[in-house]
């Protein structure tokens, strides 16, 4: 989706130009930790800046226009969702990956709906984080098992759930559900591909499609989450 830099796109792990990353988190200690981890072992990812508050982040992201922003979900003054709301319209090329210690479903879904391309927990290892950065930069979505679980839950057809309004957006296909289920079980994309006898590319397509539905669907639970957070 970041088409203006075709050389670093999807396949190019060893491209000359490193992926520029911007950190947004109100905990300085955590920023320092992530920066150290990414600077140390990951040559193709470069941290270009960091911010500790929503306003600071908005200004700095406008200024730097990094490839990827690592965004804390919980911050004073509106948190990650607020940053997304203010920056995205102006800088559509910047990709956001949400990071959080909170596993509250509504918080996670709120940033995803505000436009983040993925969600990982802060306990993730440096290597996995770098992977996730590469993947969102390449245009994919990053679903941690927990996020996959949340999304499955939202789209489940439990008794009493409101009937879908737009089937194209409000229902997951059988295949998407299978992929999500395997993600929630802790499978990597490659393992999912092997399990379902499809290509990794197809897995990525399914996950992106689920992300799109999560962002655009008007399902009752989703809109309630969103309106609780005044997103809509």
């Amino acid at each position: 989706m970041t088409d203006e830099q075709p050389d670093t796109d999807s396949t190019g792990g060893e491209a000359q130009k490193p992926i520029t990353v911007f950190l947004v988190d109100d905990h300085g200690l955590f920023r320092a930790g992530v920066r150290a981890e990414l600077d140390r072992g990951v040559p193709d990812v470069e941290v270009v800046g960091e911010a500790g508050s929503v306003d600071e982040a908005v200004a700095a992201i406008r200024h730097h226009t990094p490839d990827v922003v690592l965004l804390d979900v919980h911050m004073p003054d509106g948190g990650g969702a607020e940053v997304l709301r203010r920056v995205r319209p102006e800088a559509p090329s910047v990709v956001f990956l949400a990071l959080s210690v909170s596993d509250a479903a509504e918080d996670v879904i709120a940033v995803i709906r505000a436009g983040a391309r993925g969600y990982v927990t802060k306990t993730i290892s440096g290597r996995d984080l770098a992977d996730a950065v590469r993947r969102v930069h390449g245009g994919d979505a990053v679903f941690s098992p927990r996020l996959a679980g949340f999304v499955l839950d939202v789209f489940s057809d439990r008794p009493g759930a409101a009937p879908p309004g737009d089937p194209e957006l409000d229902l997951l296909t059988r295949r998407e559900r299978d992929v999500l289920r395997l993600l929630a079980r802790g499978y990597a994309y490659k393992e999912i591909a092997g399990e379902l006898f499809i290509s990794v590319k197809t897995v990525e397509t399914h996950v992106s499609s689920v992300l799109r539905k999560t962002q655009l669907s008007n399902r009752y639970e989703l809109s309630r989450w969103a309106s609780d957070r005044r997103l809509v």
Partner: protein, 430 residues
């Protein structure tokens, strides 16, 4: 003055009570206009005077001592305006406007006295704040002789005004006059003590708020002390054992998270809006989460359960499922040699599926040593007794996944089993 806070009366740079200045600050306009408005309003049956008095009564004085230099010109203008206001009032009274005649007459004298007393109350409040800031002593004594003189003088003015007002009505009958005197006295005392009543009410509210804040703080402090501080102390003592440190940190993280985001969590509003976090309700979800936590604590690794679906109350079958799942986690922790286990639980209306997966050593399912009772007894046999299914997939070098499936026999009766482990062994359908 662009900052637009709550309406507060000015403390410095005021002429009478700082009302006009406060209003000007609040509206962001020049104070001269506000004063002029009060003067013009004063000409209309004294509305300006009444409005000023009401604002004086009910608007709090600003608490911070901001220095305002008042230019000579502004002070002169202000005094001029006050005099002008009085003049307009007098002229209106002379023109026969009865209400104004009242105000400027004896009641005007009383109002003047009240103004003096109120102003002194403002001063006392200021001194009290200042004293509180300096020494922590609240309720400091008044401002000595001058303050006393001012208060007494104000009270005398009020009394005098009321007396003159009463004498003006002396032609009334005995009873009416007595009644009027009583009412006038009560009103006079009421007006004089207004500042103290207001202060009493405000102090009460303030104290209540502080008590609530204090209780909240105490609760948080107690919790942090019991949990986080203890854990940090333990971690320091065990700092040479990274496994133990990780175990402690993970356990503490889980506990704190539950406290913050759990069902009755601290960080969760009482409305509980949104879909509940899929875990941590009473029932299947909670007991599975608890089992995962126990395995985490015992074997010092990470078990991250992901739960999907509406929670159910435990019954005998589901209890067996939880125990089997726990055993599967324990097996993975003991034998796989990994530091993370994935657990996925899907609760459907008619079936519950649990997947326990590791990326560890793996083994050949046909080649399990005979002494490993865990898999045979605790998982397979237990599941079989309750009509559940076990599917085991393991590849040496790639990891193991245990899939446990339990059909819910009676979806309509989600009764909670109150049994112990014995029940588990009692009935064996096969």
């Amino acid at each position: 003055m662009p900052t637009r806070g709550a309406l507060e009366r000015r403390r410095s740079g005021r002429l009478v009570a700082g009302v006009a200045g406060g209003v000007a600050d609040h509206l962001g306009i020049d104070v001269l206009w506000v004063r002029a408005a009060f003067v013009v309003l004063a000409a209309i049956n004294g509305a300006g005077v009444v409005g000023y008095a009401l604002l004086w009564m009910f608007v709090r004085q600003e608490s911070a001592d901001t220095e305002r230099a008042v230019p000579r010109r502004e002070r002169q203008q202000a005094i001029g305006l006050v005099v002008l206001g009085l003049g307009i009032g007098l002229v209106a009274a002379l023109l026969g406007n009865s209400v104004i005649g009242w105000i400027v007459g004896p009641l005007g004298v009383a109002a003047l006295g009240a103004a003096v007393v109120w102003r002194e109350a403002d001063e006392a409040q200021r001194r009290r704040w200042a004293a509180g800031a300096r020494s922590g002593v609240t309720g400091a004594a008044g401002g000595g002789r001058t303050a006393l003189i001012r208060i007494v003088a104000g009270a005398l003015f009020v009394a005098l005004g009321i007396a003159v007002f009463l004498i003006g009505n002396i032609n009334l009958g005995q009873v009416q006059f007595g009644l009027l005197a009583v009412i006038a006295t009560i009103v006079g005392v009421g007006v004089l003590t207004v500042p103290w009543w207001l202060r009493l009410a405000r102090d009460l509210g303030e104290e209540r708020r502080q008590r609530i804040v204090e209780a909240e703080r105490a609760e948080i402090a107690a919790h942090l002390h019991d949990s986080v501080l203890q854990t940090l102390a333990l971690i320091q003592r065990q700092s040479d054992d990274p496994r133990e440190v990780a175990r402690l940190a993970r356990g503490q993280e889980r506990e704190l998270r539950h406290w913050l985001y759990g069902p009755q969590g601290y960080g969760r509003g009482s409305t509980g809006g949104g879909v509940k976090a899929p875990a941590l309700d009473e029932g299947l979800a909670e007991s599975l989460t608890k089992a995962a936590a126990e395995v985490e604590d015992t074997y010092a690794l990470t078990v991250s359960p992901v739960l999907v679906g509406a929670d159910r109350q435990l019954d005998a079958d589901l209890r067996a499922l939880v125990l089997a799942a726990r055993e599967a986690m324990v097996n993975a922790a003991k034998h796989a040699g990994v530091d993370e286990i994935s657990v996925y639980v899907e609760i459907e209306p008619d079936e519950v599926n649990v997947f326990v997966r590791d990326r560890g050593k793996g083994f050949d399912p046909d080649d399990v040593p005979a002494d490993r009772h865990g898999l045979a007894d605790s998982i397979k046999a237990r599941m079989a007794r309750h009509g559940g299914r076990v599917r085991l997939r393991s590849t040496p070098g790639e990891g193991t996944e245990v899939h446990l499936a339990m059909t819910i026999s009676d979806p309509a009766a989600p009764d909670r089993a109150t049994d112990t482990d014995n029940e588990d062994r009692q009935e064996a359908p096969s």
